[in-house]
């Protein structure tokens, strides 16, 4: 990306540029945190990653050409999270680009599905999606991004965004309706 010199150039941005960053980019901190939380499966890691992404965004801010600030920031968040996962890999997210339709993996699908409230159930269902499906659900359902924005943020072709989204929604619907309907997935 940027050479050290160019990066340094960004660091000596004047305070007006910092104010501009704070008014344009910082309001999207919630979006950054939410995406990081769902990509990284958790609390403290998500905060650290969101913070790191913000600092990166700050350093690259002079390279920002205007346009969709949120999409630009979320691209950085996503890259930060994937770098993060590679550093702290515990074999958990090797399913990233899985094209297969799987039911919720993990040892206790019945236990998961029978679980009490829909929040717990949905959280677990979302956690168990392959990370590509998970991030597309988060961007569409939680962040309200358009297909085009999702394609930009994830660098995935728009057609793949659409097919992944519909597949991921099916998996979530299935998780919500419980194990009794598990067979119906094969009809879809």
């Amino acid at each position: 990306m940027n050479s050290p010199v160019a990066e340094e150039g960004c660091n000596v941005l004047d305070s007006q540029e910092q104010v501009r960053f704070e008014t344009l980019v910082l309001p999207h901190l919630d979006a950054a945190h939410n995406l990081a939380r769902w990509l990284l499966h958790g609390g403290a890691d998500a905060e650290d990653a969101a913070q790191e992404a913000m600092l990166r965004a700050y350093r690259f801010f002079s390279g920002f050409r205007g346009g969709d600030v949120r999409a630009w920031l979320l691209q950085i968040v996503r890259n930060t999270c994937f770098t993060w996962m590679q550093k702290n890999r515990h074999g958990k997210d090797t399913d990233e680009f899985d094209e297969e339709v799987h039911g919720p993996p993990g040892p206790t699908p019945e236990a998961l599905a029978i679980a009490a409230d829909s929040r717990g159930r949905l959280t677990r269902a979302l956690e168990s999606l392959p990370s590509r499906s998970r991030e597309i659900i988060v961007l569409r359902e939680l962040e309200g991004c358009s297909y085009k924005e999702i394609a930009i943020i994830t660098s995935i072709p728009i057609g793949t965004v659409m097919s992944t989204l519909s597949r991921a929604r099916r998996q979530l619907q299935l998780a919500l309706t419980g194990p009794a309907n598990k067979e119906s997935m094969h009809d879809l």
Partner: protein
Amino acid sequence: MICDRAGAVVHGYFDNELDAAGAAEFELHLERCSECVFALEDLESLHSSIAVAQLYERAPATLRKTILASLDRELPVAAFPSRAVWRWLAVAAAILLATYASWRVTSLGRSDSYDAVLAAEIVDAHLRSLQPGHLTDVISTDQHTVKPWFDGKLDFSPPVQDFADQGFPLQGGRIDVVHGQAVAALVYVRRKHFVNVFVWPTDEKDRAPSSGSQQGYQWLEWRKGGMQFCVVSDAAPSALQQLQSLLTSN
């Protein structure tokens, strides 16, 4: 029986991603395809379950504070071996920034998408100015107070006039940033609507006004006598034109 539209088309319709014709056609189809109706209902129910479950995880307030603090620390980075190197890098960076800024300003000046880019930045700047405490750095209805205030803060002298008699009382001014360049922002008020007038020098020749709207805000921009003007407000377009003729007639 499986309807071939029950896949991507239902999702596209649900997500408002179909064009008007596609959506109208699909609505006709819905009247006779119960499968698509059920599919749509399922999507709605999933969407509302997700909403009810409140899965969106906002950043804790402390995180915002931590980040703001670390942004401040970012400014004087001291990770370099010697002062000489640091100084050299600062000079190189300043040159890079200056070259980049002037390249951006001139290249944008020539580009076809200039108006769109300018409009987006101007509307952003206008919105920013409406945040509490951001509207004016110098509060005065007196042009003889506002004009000298800019001296020494900008390398040009913006034309400052009060048009209270014509229905546009001057409120004050501030320095803003457009295209990475410091510009003068003059603030007028028109029947409770704030109007920002952005002014900065340009090498381009004079140009007649062009206008547009974005996010509900009207803008009007023109060049005259080596100055670029851009007026933005949620006041009526005719009000902007009126202010434009006041600004150019003197």
